[in-house]
Symmetry: C2
Subunit: 237 residues, 2 copies
Amino acid sequence: MVTQARKERERLEREDQILAHALEMLQQSGYLGLNMDRIAARMEYSKGTIYQHFRNKEEIILALANRALEKRVDMFRRAATWSGRPRERMAAIGAAAESFVEKYPHHFTVEQIVRCASIWEKTSEERRRIMETCESQCLQIVSGIVRDGLSSGELQLPEDRSPEDLVFGLWSMSWGAYTILTTSETLSENGITDPVLALRHNMHEMLDGYGWEPLSEVLDYNSVMDQVKAGFEREQS
Amino acid sequence: MVTQARKERERLEREDQILAHALEMLQQSGYLGLNMDRIAARMEYSKGTIYQHFRNKEEIILALANRALEKRVDMFRRAATWSGRPRERMAAIGAAAESFVEKYPHHFTVEQIVRCASIWEKTSEERRRIMETCESQCLQIVSGIVRDGLSSGELQLPEDRSPEDLVFGLWSMSWGAYTILTTSETLSENGITDPVLALRHNMHEMLDGYGWEPLSEVLDYNSVMDQVKAGFEREQS
DNA sequence: GTCAATTAATGACTGATCGTCAATAATTGA
DNA sequence: TCAATTATTGACGATCAGTCATTAATTGAC
């Protein structure tokens, strides 16, 4: 009975190790560089044992993505509690998104892979659901802030628009920006020298376009974001 | 000498066929479904002959992407000639982007694959350059319109902002939106029922945020976009 | 302590698929 | 007509995912 607990602990530790090795390979040489034999070799276990933990390669990738996503939900949740007006809290979410990318720079590689190769179909229902839940939770946190803005009267939406449509704008801009900046080598040659800052500005402009008070010319949201990020970095250490 | 021309013609035809088969497979079963043996079988040629045309699988994928991208440059170029104020012409570009996705729905799959798997490194310098050139041309067309807006005085940018920063906003939002909508199965469950329309709205809002006259409450850019798209569809037939 | 039953670990093997290349076939032009 | 050139072929080597019969380790009843 006691040994049972030890075994379970060892199993979890090994799972961590597998994911750590997998992440390293993935970062270093992409999807095709992730090699089950090599994981086994580095783990000093046989391949069969690796397959005891993960049904296939894709499950490993999705497990990595899920770990990162759970962290993001957590960071979004904490950012949403920022004390201030709804639009400031929205800026805090933006800061959380930035911190997240800095803290887990591998995450975009992994999530892009999940969203692109025929990985999705090969994974278990269970893991897929975790990912969808994380995604949905992030969306809900953000649309909650939009709703707070609506009820405070600082934001009005056109009648044919839902809060989720606005959130989709932020989501797509952020996702698109980070995708492009991690995969395009010619950004600066094309005159985009600081894409992360440009992303911030463009988000502010979009929210200004919606007329969400206070507008960015009135309140310096970049300074809010830097404060929030500083908070995240402090608690990290 | 005469037969030389015929041979060259046949070679190009075969290349077209290879790409057509490849595209079909790619659409049907993703990157992993693209199979060189199967292409050879369907072509009724041996594998070696296929490899005479393309050094590897990745070259085929990049060739597909480039074909689509060249079309997009063409569509952007034509959209940019739309007669109207700069902001209307920008809306025309948005319409071209929409038409492009409708006309070449496979393109996003392909470009995503290029941007994600370790495909980039395996391809020839030449084909990579074509892709970068297309990208750069699209950006230049769009930033040209931004500059027209600046010189007409209908748009002012904050002093720390370049036209390219604004373009990056449109680019990232558009790329992000289409990526998400083609890869997320739970959008409507999360309250985003018409992502393409939401994308339009969000782009208008961002440009409104920049204060680009005439604002979208004054001029109905969706109607401009529908006109432009109608034009594209007409000439297609 | 013994031993049968259960659980865990192994790695050789199958199958899929990429890319190569020596051998063969077809074409050309003198 | 035939040697030289060009095109085509498909068997082959290499890599890698995932399987499974075999072997090793652990457990718990007696």
